[in-house]
């Protein structure tokens, strides 16, 4: 099957730190891929390179065969790759609905106009529909600065969905969410994402989440891929247990 995303021999260094070392990954449409690895293993760097925030030192990234390795985040977003952030990147003084409304504006940026009211019905409806999907409708008119960390995380993911991305990258969707709530949060995310994004890549530290939601796991270690494949196989891989999950089971 032809991969939707194909990264070939990516290299990225920050001074002496190797964040990507001949990294090659193919991601097929419809997969739910989890990236695991210790801090600094290169997971977020990979996400940053795919979304154009960082330029790889060398190597190529292709979306449906089109090279996107040198594109800006804006172009990458326009091509159908969206992402959420480990630390939610929101417009903190605006309300949740306004945050989503800005995202909706982004789907037709040429029409970002002087005369069209920000709260026009179409836009507001779309924003509210997304918030509803995440169960946040009642918080729509609250400014982000009044919302808890877990809620911000969801708003952040909702914004990534506005474009109905073909590939969605989630950077630690459950970090900062309490242990009791993590499954509920992840269920909400997977449920809300389902209609719009068929292919999901998520960075995750929690192995329970990984084994429950991923159908493929890629383990990172020092900028390289240690193991890649079926979640059960990867999580039981001795090297992965030694370097990534720390044998804590």
């Amino acid at each position: 099957m032809k991969p939707i995303l194909s990264a070939r021999r990516l290299e990225k260094r920050f001074g002496a730190v190797v964040a990507a070392d001949a990294l090659s990954i193919d991601i097929a449409a419809g997969q739910k891929v989890s990236l695991i690895g210790a801090n600094g293993a290169g997971k977020t760097t990979f996400v940053n390179m795919v979304t154009g925030y960082l330029k790889p030192d060398s190597g190529s990234i292709a979306l449906d065969g089109m090279n996107i390795g040198r594109r800006s985040p804006r172009h990458v977003a326009e091509l159908g790759i969206s992402r959420s952030f480990q630390i939610p990147q929101l417009f903190i003084d605006l309300t949740a609905a306004e945050n989503l409304a800005v995202a909706v504006s982004g789907t037709h940026p040429r029409a970002l106009s002087f005369h069209s009211p920000a709260e026009a019905h179409g836009r507001r409806d779309k924003a509210l529909e997304l918030l509803e999907r995440f169960g946040l409708a009642d918080l729509a008119d609250r400014p982000i600065s009044e919302l808890a960390g877990g809620v911000r995380k969801l708003v952040d993911i909702a914004m990534a969905l506005v474009r109905r991305p073909r590939l969605l990258l989630l950077d630690e969707p459950t970090s900062g969410v309490s242990a009791e709530e993590k499954f509920a949060t992840m269920d909400r995310v997977i449920h809300a994402v389902a209609p719009d994004a068929a292919t999901i890549v998520f960075v995750e530290h929690d192995m329970e989440i990984v084994s429950r939601y991923a159908d493929r796991v890629v383990a990172f270690y020092q900028g390289r891929i240690l193991a890649d494949g079926d979640p059960r196989d990867v999580l039981n891989d001795p090297e992965v247990r030694r370097y990534v999950t720390g044998g804590a089971q």
Partner: protein, 298 residues
């Protein structure tokens, strides 16, 4: 060839005092992350105080060398006091606010000091030329230079070296550098940042005032002095990179040479040249010559 030499020497003389002003500005920015619009006012304050000291000494018919020492000493004393007072009494209240807000606060200080100097020293030009003749004239490559002007170069170099040495080779300096590079980290390591702020700001004021005192014998003190100087020193630190000591040196030399060159070649273009250089540097190296961009963690 002769005019080339003149330009270089004039440029370096200019660069000498400009460097001392810019050094203060860049250090304050490095430590407190404040781009201090009032910095030029401290230069003017130093110049006015020096003039008063020199005039006082002359009025009591003491030798000009005493005047020279008196002007430096009085400036050092008053400037440090003013700096400490302003930082503890005023700036402290605004820490944590947006950097543009802090810029506005220093703009307010600039406005206030502008009128305070007028109230104290009046609006008519003031002179303090006595120390200027102290070191005689020097013939150099067929040109005559005032010894005082030439002396500015080693003084400036000494100040620069002292700051470099202080920052890189002393414990206090390392603490200051730690605050410059990573404030959060230095707080967690037990650095008392408040104290570093106060000392750094006072020292910045001192440097500006010192440059003012050193140039006082060369110029006429009148309203508008501070705003001319702040405009020049902004250009220097932006060219060199905000917060960078080496940058301030290179920026000062570039601006000094540009000023001297335009005075000799195209007198119409002085300010124009300096700001053209600055705009040019910003276009190609937005963070200035000596600063690296830090990527934002997401």
């Amino acid at each position: 060839m002769n005019s080339f030499l003149t330009i270089v020497l004039d440029g370096l003389i200019q660069a000498s005092w400009l460097f001392i002003v810019a050094l203060g500005l860049t250090l304050v920015f490095g430590v407190l992350k404040i781009l201090n619009i009032a910095h030029g006012s401290f230069y003017a304050l130093g110049a006015y105080i020096a003039a008063t000291a020199v005039t006082f000494v002359a009025a009591h018919s003491l030798p000009p060398s005493v005047g020279f020492v008196a002007m430096l000493a009085s400036v050092a004393l008053i400037a440090s006091a003013v700096g400490l007072l302003l930082e503890r009494g005023l700036l402290k209240m605004f820490y944590g606010r947006d950097e543009v807000v802090l810029l506005l606060v220093t703009y307010a200080v600039f406005l206030i000091l502008e009128d305070v100097t007028k109230l104290i020293w009046g609006v008519n030009p003031i002179y303090a030329t006595q120390p200027y003749e102290l070191f005689g004239n020097v013939a150099f490559a067929g040109l005559y230079y005032v010894g005082y002007d030439l002396l500015l170069m080693p003084i400036s170099a000494a100040v620069g070296f002292a700051v470099w040495f202080g920052l890189n080779r002393t414990v206090t300096g390392k603490i200051v550098l730690a605050v410059i590079h990573n404030e959060e980290m230095s707080v967690s390591m037990g650095v008392r940042v408040n104290r570093v702020y106060a000392v750094a700001f006072a020292f910045g004021v001192l440097l500006a005032a010192l440059a003012g005192a050193l140039t006082a014998p060369k110029i006429s003190m009148q309203p508008g002095l501070s705003s001319d100087v702040i405009i020049l020193s902004f250009a220097i630190v932006v060219i060199g990179g905000l917060g960078s000591v080496e940058g301030a040196a290179v920026g000062a030399i570039l601006v000094g040479l540009a000023r001297a060159a335009s005075v000799h070649l195209v007198p119409q273009a002085e300010l124009f040249m300096i700001y053209l250089i600055m705009a040019g540097v910003l276009m190609f190296r937005p963070e200035g010559l000596f600063k690296r961009e830090a990527a934002r963690r997401i």
